[in-house]
């Protein structure tokens, strides 16, 4: 039978030609390839024989090598093996400290009791596990699973089943040491967060290295290592982890260590110092307790994070002791989502805070000057639809419009600017992109840019511009982005928000391994624009929607926002009457002191109501806490108003001096 390549292939001219060619060349080639002549064959055989002898010689040399090792020096090595077996083990490095800007300890290590099993000494594994399950009060399946992951360890090595075991349980276990000889209690290092839930979202937590991390981080780590997960623990893991040491020990034939030959101590991890002020953070978290929301406080002059609080929070210490499956399930299935860092999650409409962007755009693009006035009759009709304003503000300029959060003014200005110019300025002020803070899982949010509209295929109607002018519709931001935005607007500089202050070597006089490089560039707007917007924010505090955040004697600039969550049909209902998930989000941003900005803050309260009513008072408390002002100095008291200055609703106000407030406004204003 002939096979494929040689089979003749009748039919088709091309095939016929190729058959002929193959018959011709193929035959010749076959001739050439065959070992026809004896001379060819002899020469080839001679050369193969050289290879043969070389191989044989090499194998002989190897055999002699074994002869020498096993028979000549056999006794020597046998002695080494019998009496002096060497074993190399890893010594885990102590994880570096995390400190706040004042040196307060945020994360450290402490000794903890670990219960471990030496399989070699156990006869009935199931019985021992059942007993431990009862003593430790942990499900049998959990202990079994933990043992299974460590089955590749040699049988004489302890497999850790539980850590962070309490003293009384340790006593119980040790009391029955004779009955269960394979169960030992050892002291291990455990990560400890002395302030519990404080700054949990900033710090992240530690946990056993996952197979995926092991694959990507490579050879410096090994299975079972405790590494940082999320937060600062995760981002600066390479600094915090240190390098494991090793121990070369002589062990007897049962694997027990007899003496240590050589020991390389581990390099402890570096100390990571954050810009955070943990006392401020703690006070803010106290203010947030029982609510859902977030507060970001930035150092206006550096971009350093002073406080980054997200509520509800969790206790990272729970992760340090090996976590049970149930605890984990409970934490991720909690409807309040305590693990979510609300300061970085950017699925929130900014509400009226966005008016800062529109005002800046209007001034810079030359659509308005500080003197330009628009009339507010309590709402306006665009493209056949009525867009309302929560007050009837009459003729207002940009400073008053910001202070009173007048929608009509910004509808008008936004429509004249158009989507593209609004998007351009939103982007310049840091929206629609991550700020680049040194924390994982920051979201970029959304602005209706050309790219976004193209990639999602969303239709954009002219009416959408009216909505985004007051921060509703196709806009999504994070609390951090808004704090960043306010810092740009208030200082005229774009500064990178960051948490790292510096990294220090653990010993040797705390030499700085590296210090965070401050990144700052001038913002792309004029000084005059900055001053006008700041006057608007000052007005908001002194006579506008942010009065609840007023703080004597510090001069504060603020802006409130209320992000509507309800669709248009339900707007008519009162906010408090709606189901919780449809209630408004409350926003408040501030800068203080306004002449020489020191801090910038953003307050976000999830489904809590109006910004002026809910978020601003909390913002005022944060400011009071930072400046050390008594809390009762926050807010404003009704002062009898001079009747000459009161205005009727809807009444035209022909002129208003920019420096003076246009009356107290209606109490319904945001």
């Amino acid at each position: 039978m002939t096979a494929g390549p040689w089979r003749s292939n009748p039919g088709g001219r091309a095939r016929e030609r190729s058959r002929k060619a193959r018959a011709f060349y193929g035959a010749e080639r076959l001739q050439r390839r065959a070992l026809e002549t004896d001379a060819d064959r002899a020469r080839l055989a001679a050369r193969v024989r050289v290879v043969e002898w070389t191989v044989a010689a090499a194998v002989l040399i190897l055999l002699l090598g074994f002869w020498q090792l096993q028979l000549v020096h056999g006794a020597h090595y046998a002695e080494l093996a019998d009496n002096n077996q060497l074993r190399q083990t890893r010594i885990r490095a102590a994880r570096g400290l995390i400190l706040d800007r004042n040196g307060e300890v945020l994360a450290t290590n402490r000794a903890s009791y670990e219960v471990a099993l030496i399989r070699e000494a156990v006869e009935d594994e199931t019985a021992v596990l059942e007993w431990l399950s009862r003593v430790l009060d942990q499900p049998l399946a959990t202990l079994g699973a933990r043992l299974d992951t460590q089955r590749r360890l040699p049988r004489f090595m302890p497999a850790v089943l539980a850590s962070g075991v309490s003293q009384d349980k340790v006593v119980t276990i040790q009391a029955r040491r004779r009955e269960y000889p394979g169960v030992i209690v050892q002291v291990g290092i455990q990560r400890y967060y002395p302030r519990g839930t404080t700054a949990a979202h900033v710090l992240g937590h530690v946990g056993e290295i996952s197979p995926r991390q092991l694959a990507t981080w490579g050879s410096a780590y090994s299975m079972g290592d405790i590494v940082g997960q999320l937060g600062v623990e995760g981002v600066y893991n390479d600094d915090l982890a240190g390098a494991p040491g090793s121990k070369l020990a002589v062990v007897d034939s049962s694997g027990r260590e007899v003496r240590t030959l050589d020991q390389q101590p581990p390099d402890p991890g570096r100390t990571v110092i954050l810009t955070l002020d943990v006392n401020l953070q703690e006070r803010i978290e106290a203010l947030l307790r029982g609510r859902k929301g977030a507060v970001v406080v930035l150092d206006a002059n550096t971009g350093g994070i002073l406080a980054l609080a997200s509520s509800p929070s969790f206790d990272p210490n729970a992760f340090a002791a090996r976590f049970s499956v149930q605890d984990w399930q409970a934490l991720i299935q909690d409807p309040e989502r305590p693990l979510r860092n609300r300061t970085l999650g950017a699925n929130l409409p900014p509400g009226s805070i966005f008016k800062l962007v529109v005002a800046t755009a209007g001034l810079e693009e030359g659509i308005i000057t500080p003197r330009t006035r628009y009339f507010c009759p309590g709402g306006k009709t665009f493209y056949g639809r009525f867009f309302d304003c929560l007050g009837q503000h009459g003729e207002v300029n940009v400073v008053q419009a910001l202070a009173l959060s007048c929608n009509s003014f910004f509808y008008e200005l936004g429509v004249r600017l158009g989507r593209e110019r609004i998007v351009k300025w939103a982007s310049r002020l840091g929206l629609g992109n991550v700020t680049g803070i040194d924390l994982p899982q920051e979201q970029s949010g959304l602005i209706p840019s050309d790219e976004w509209l193209q990639s999602t295929g969303r239709r954009y109607y002219p009416g959408d511009t009216v909505s985004i002018s007051i921060g509703q519709g196709m806009l999504q931001v994070s609390p951090l982005q808004l704090a960043h935005l306010v810092s740009i607007v208030a200082t005229g500089f774009v500064r990178q928000p960051h948490l790292l202050y510096r990294v220090e070597e653990p010993s040797a006089g705390r030499a700085a391994a590296r210090t965070h490089t401050l990144l700052a560039r001038p913002a792309e707007f004029r000084e005059s624009t900055r001053r006008v917007v700041l006057r608007g924010m000052a007005g908001s505090i002194s006579y506008g929607t942010s009065r609840q955040a007023r703080l004597q004697p510090i001069q504060v600039g603020g802006k409130t926002g209320t992000a509507q969550m309800a669709s248009s049909e339900r707007v008519a209902e009162k906010d408090e009457d709606r189901p919780e998930h449809l209630r408004n989000h409350a926003w408040f941003v501030a800068v203080a002191p306004i002449q020489e900005p020191e801090i910038v803050l953003a307050v976000f309260l999830e489904h809590a109501g109006g910004g002026g009513a809910v978020a601003a008072p909390l913002g005022g408390q944060v400011l009071a806490s930072y400046f050390g002002v008594p809390a009762d100095q926050v807010g404003y008291r009704e002062i009898p108003i001079d009747p000459r200055e009161t205005t009727q609703r809807g009444q035209r106000e022909p002129t208003l001096p920019a420096a003076r407030p246009p009356g107290s406004g209606s109490p319904r204003q945001r």
Binding site: V55, V59, L71, L86
Partner: protein, 363 residues
């Protein structure tokens, strides 16, 4: 299309197959011993590989090897494409992009690339006039070898990349490269070695040089070698017996089911075991080379020489490493070490040689 005639089964070279089977069986037992006390999963897998490998050798041996020679360039091209794809798509597993997962198994395409290169070289040299040739004729063969070798070196897997050099050297020598040219090549290679040394990473240099004085660095790169020598040396004449080597059973010996499996032979089976294993390898290699004498065609002869070169080189380097004669490289011991890809590619190669032998009387 590919037919197995009864005649080829009757004259089938069962002796070589038995030789391979003996080595594979020893490997399964050793892997079981290496992982004793943990689980027998590795040994069970190795047994499956053994069965698959022998089956492959049987099937490939019954097919006319000239089908493979005729498609050699196509096979070479597919191997190169595969290696390129590895650099882009393969996941990093312990630092190298050498493995892909198919079903539940990890495969190492570089193992199969070796066979592809041997086929391509056999085809190339057999197409040429059988007479002495010089260095200029080495350009194309050099290219055929350099491309996959560089691709594998990039994974990075320098150990496997280097195995291509002895293949090229032996096939070219058997095909008729002038002795003078070989001397020149060796000279150039010796001169280039320092340059190559400069491109190595620190840890690679440490691995390469620590065999000269392993006791100087018993923590790091020297640790494996110290442990390996203790294991082998303490085995003595008759060994400590299977499943009772203290070095290996107490896990002192890293990689004992892989690259250091020969140390396990030394410890548990002693000098006797080592001698038996080495003799089995020697008879296998001699049989592979003898197939080159009787081959009907030059391509067959070169194929046998190439495969023998590959196996001999891996044997010498791996076994030499265990007793500290050569630097520690990540080369497995063919047929004995744990791992499916190496076993399968070696068995395919042996099958090809069997096919060459079977067809010594046929045109």
């Amino acid at each position: 299309m590919i037919l197995i005639d009864r005649r080829s089964l009757r004259i089938f070279d069962y002796v070589t197959l038995l030789n391979v089977a003996a080595l594979l069986a020893i490997g399964v037992v050793l892997v079981a011993s290496a992982s004793a006390g943990q689980d027998l999963d590795l040994a069970r897998r190795q047994a499956v590989w053994m069965a698959i490998g022998l089956g492959l050798a049987l099937v490939v041996g019954a097919i006319n090897y000239r089908h493979f020679i005729d498609n050699a360039y196509l096979i070479w091209g597919s191997a190169v494409v595969m290696l390129m794809a590895m650099l882009v798509f393969a996941p990093r597993i312990s630092g190298a992009r050498s493995w892909i997962r198919i079903g539940g198994f990890s495969l190492q395409p570089s193992e199969f690339a070796k066979i592809a290169v041997i086929l391509a070289l056999a085809r190339l040299f057999s197409d040429r006039e059988p007479r002495d040739f010089g260095l200029r004729s080495m350009l194309v063969p050099g290219f055929l070898v350099a491309v996959p070798a560089l691709l594998i070196g990039r994974q990075p897997d320098q150990g496997t990349a280097i195995t291509f050099l002895p293949i090229l050297a032996v096939v070219a020598w058997v095909a008729g490269l002038r002795g003078k040219s070989i001397a020149t090549l060796v000279g150039v290679g010796a001169a280039a070695a320092p340059l190559w040394y400069l491109t190595l990473k620190d840890y690679q240099i440490r691995r390469l040089t620590s065999f000269l004085n392993p006791e100087a660095d018993p923590h790091g790169a020297g640790y494996q070698l110290v442990q390996s020598k203790i294991a082998v040396g303490s085995g003595g004449f008759a060994g400590k017996g299977l499943f009772s080597g203290t070095q290996s059973q107490l896990n002192f010996l890293p990689e004992q089911e892989n690259d250091f499996i020969m140390a396990l032979v030394g410890e548990e089976l002693g000098f006797v075991g080592v001698a038996i294993v080495l003799l089995l390898y020697l008879t296998l290699l001699i049989r592979l080379l003898r197939a080159a004498y009787v081959a009907r065609h030059r391509s067959g002869a070169l194929l046998c020489a190439g495969l023998a070169a590959l196996l001999a080189f891996q044997l010498i380097i791996n076994v030499g490493m265990v007793i500290g004669y050569v630097p520690i490289t990540g080369l497995p011991l063919p047929l004995l070490s744990y791992g499916g890809s190496s076993i399968m590619s070696t068995c395919i190669g042996v099958g090809l040689v069997i096919s060459v032998r079977n067809r010594r009387f046929l045109l």
